[in-house]
Symmetry: D2
Subunit: 305 residues, 4 copies
């Protein structure tokens, strides 16, 4: 850890001193308001030591990172049955997503592309009594962070401009792979994506995937070992849109990014690392976040490969 701490500090300062390029996500009006200079890193080891630097205790909109959490809840509740309705393959690229839905009869490629996440949301809407409240409770439970909440304004902001997501949800519905009304599913989906956390909270929340000995404050295991490994594999192959291969190649860790500029990455049985910087590269991943993680595994010479 002490070594990791120094590496983090060194890389953080190096990256902070160079150009902060890329663009803050603008398609959701609410996200466009964030200060582009925000930059934070939080680290948590399997020994539960933690370290943070920069804006690591400021809330960010975790966006797509949340898709791992909704998936984990559906997996916990419904087991392997969920894979009948959503695949586990990388999608190739954004461009093909609608064609693939057509050729694959409405079965999205994986649970991290928007369509796949909507199918998972649909399962939760069918299964949970109060989907939004129950999901939030689950996230607070596994993280032991009661201050985690939805952002009503972000959810509303996404709903207002979310024509492409509405198109996607209705398209999947037309194949029969959405059980509930698209409006209901989308409402849950937009809220799920609006969750706000700090980097510190992200490392707490994702400890259940990083550490096989993890237990919630109630002594519960969230997922079994096989399920945990499988979610990590999914993050590895599909977690970064069409930059997933590049991330595996350069960083070599399972992880997930969001258009809010957050990235969570983890080295199983070793550590959990959250980075936040709002400017995105052309693939939609945090520019500084990617740089930070690449430097981190390069300097520590540790990756899962």
């Amino acid at each position: 850890m002490s070594n990791h701490r120094e590496v983090i500090e060194h890389i953080y300062q190096t990256i902070k001193s160079i150009d902060n390029i890329g663009k803050v996500a603008k398609y959701i009006p609410d996200l466009a308001k964030v200060a582009p200079s925000k930059f934070g890193v939080a680290y948590r080891s399997i020994e539960n030591e933690e370290y943070g630097i920069g804006d690591w205790q400021t809330k960010l909109s975790i966006q797509s990172i949340s898709k791992v959490l909704s998936l984990s809840l559906a997996y916990r509740l419904l087991g392997e049955d969920i894979w009948a309705r959503v695949g586990v393959e990388p999608s190739g690229n954004a461009f093909n997503s609608l064609v693939q839905l057509e050729t694959d009869n409405g079965i999205p490629r994986n649970p991290f592309i928007n369509g796949g996440a909507m199918v998972i949301c649909d399962m939760l809407v069918s299964h949970l009594e109060n989907p939004k409240a129950d999901f939030l409770e689950y996230v607070r439970d596994i993280s032991s962070c009661n201050e985690i909440s939805y952002s009503a304004s972000t959810a509303k902001s996404e709903e207002e401009v979310g024509y492409r997501n509405k198109a996607l949800c209705n398209f999947i519905k037309s194949f029969g792979n959405i059980e509930n009304s698209p409006d209901e599913v989308l409402d849950f989906y937009f809220h799920m994506c609006s969750i706000e956390m700090t980097c510190q909270e992200l490392t707490k929340t994702f400890s259940f995937l990083a550490f096989s000995n993890f237990k919630t404050h109630n002594g519960d295991q969230v997922l079994n070992l096989s399920q945990t490994k499988r979610l990590n594999a999914l993050m590895q192959t599909c977690g970064f849109y069409d930059e997933s291969g590049e991330f595996a190649f350069k960083v070599g860790l399972p992880g997930k990014s969001g258009v809010g500029g957050g990235i969570i990455a983890l080295h199983p049985e070793k550590y959990c690392l959250a980075v936040w910087s709002p400017r995105l590269n052309e693939k939609g991943n945090s520019h500084r976040g990617m740089k930070f993680l690449e430097s981190f595994t390069t300097e520590t010479k540790l990756s899962i490969f």
Copy 2:
């Protein structure tokens, strides 16, 4: 190791006793002649202990597994420059490959789809004095196995029916991403894919990727640590066609399959495992090979995730 040995024996016998389903690759006349009942497994640990069962010392046509070897030689010779001409992203699915070449201006998605492997072959044809002889020498060198050879009849057999590969190579040439004549590149490509090895030889050959302390008989390191990790990451995300996600999900190891029914998989710093059974599932990967590896990481509770 002793534990691994028992697990291998147990799983081998279990799988041998159940139905041997799937189809032997028929599109290359020469491959169709192999006895579908062949089944072998070879294991090699970082301590250089080895173990084998069944047809582990019978030659098989390694086919696409060879793409990792040609890539490793190009990477060794030309370094990071190779990535300007071929990507590192999963391709999504077979169906899109030609569209993707069109939208990506002739830059194949990754070096393991046929088009990507041809671009790598083109680099070697440009760089090596005697491409076929030099490549074979490289493979013999890293494996310390002098009995490894091309199968002239398999190469000829592939050439005779390889219209789709000819289409692909000419298509990439039309974008300017093949330097040499398509005929010359394809001749090298078909020979490269025709290499024959035993499972035992496969584990020896891939030790340079599995074990960071690996040295050839001359004391050479084949690739540096960063390069090794990157090739492993590539195998993880792109090694099994459109079943790569499934393999990461169920097996959780970097690996590579070939239509001859062989699969190589490796757990970095732990072991190297080769399986061979010619009947393929509908995605073109060895049916028994996939089952074997899934059972192995499940029973040993060890994967990179």
Copy 3:
């Protein structure tokens, strides 16, 4: 005409006596209720002679045939400006429609594919004071048939199962090529498609495209000569989904079909011909209707080619 009358009667009886194959459109519950044995033909010459046989005076749901009418109204009101938002090219096939919207930035290929018709509907929603009432009045006006109406139950039926159309409209909206709310546009679209006419009324309604000397009961010309020719050309190249080429090839007349089993075809300056038979071939066009028209132009040895 007398000759045409005999040919029609002869072909009608021949086709009636052979198997009535194909399937009635089932995806809209309301359409599935129609008796599959319905079969009617109406003919109208430039000299205003008319002739009908079978169910030529029974109402049918004209469905996509209506897209020619909404297009003609938009063309009349807005002139050549409409082509900035919708193309005039055949779409190739159904399969590509969403990809094409993506590559073409939300500009549908032509006004007869669903997306194109929605863009036209959006123009009318923006331009008309009471879109549904005004459009119906226009149709009654050009046909001099005051009994033409929407079917509220068909419109409702389509709305309830129209997830793919909702997907399409929201998708185009996401590119900015729909000005109004998707719900408003779709409500107009579903009503427009629900119009019911008899074959006789269809020939009256389409006389403005068939005969350059046509005037409404008020003495108005609906479109000028250039506009008329252009709509006929569009029907010729895009009027029959991915069977448009086949229709041009075998029938050789401009025309438009609907999933209700109706087809309108016209020989400029000669005649207008409406056929109705609900069973559809695999491309979604009336099986008997296509056969009838092919036989008609073959026996009369007259087509525009």
Copy 4:
């Protein structure tokens, strides 16, 4: 005719006086040598009156226009059987051609896209004793022009850079829809496209499609009436790549263009019109040629619609 003559002269002078924009085809080195200022028009009526202006008696490389001629020969020799191996539908756009071949199992969309023309060439290679000599004789025969020849240098020039066409031919071969060796088929294809004619010769050559009373100097009818109408319909729907709809819309005549800058258009039973100007618009059709024909049907107020 006298009226047509005046219209042609007037439009020719008008277009000659305005900017000559667009680009001469450069991908075939031999075509790039043509003077961009060439501009000629030839007209021939059903009464066999002819008129020409500008470079109407200078040879041009007719390129894809030749596909109509090879198709007509295959149609004459093999009848309706040819449609089992090639479709009659517009292809949508260039971009999709390879995907469509994949989804359509190697059956090209129509005989005017390159793949479709190659399948037709393959039929002729199988059927003719001396394909190149026999085809040329056929063209000379129907045109009564013995000075029509292949350009050996253009054929060679195309062969040398024709990687995309080689890709296409091998791709179709991989589906089994090419019987002969791709090299043999491509040699015939490149020669076929290299035919050189003057505008005057083009109107003579295409008279068999324009005039139903046409007979060759031997008194033969080239195709029967139904076949003639069908080829005209095909030219109408598929003759101008992805500008076919636009051509139908603005010009309203069956026709065919080539990248050499030539266009043939015809009004059945009225006239045949050839235009040549080497600068192409972005869709690959002669810029001035398209303008000329649009103006011609607009001013004469005559089109098939």
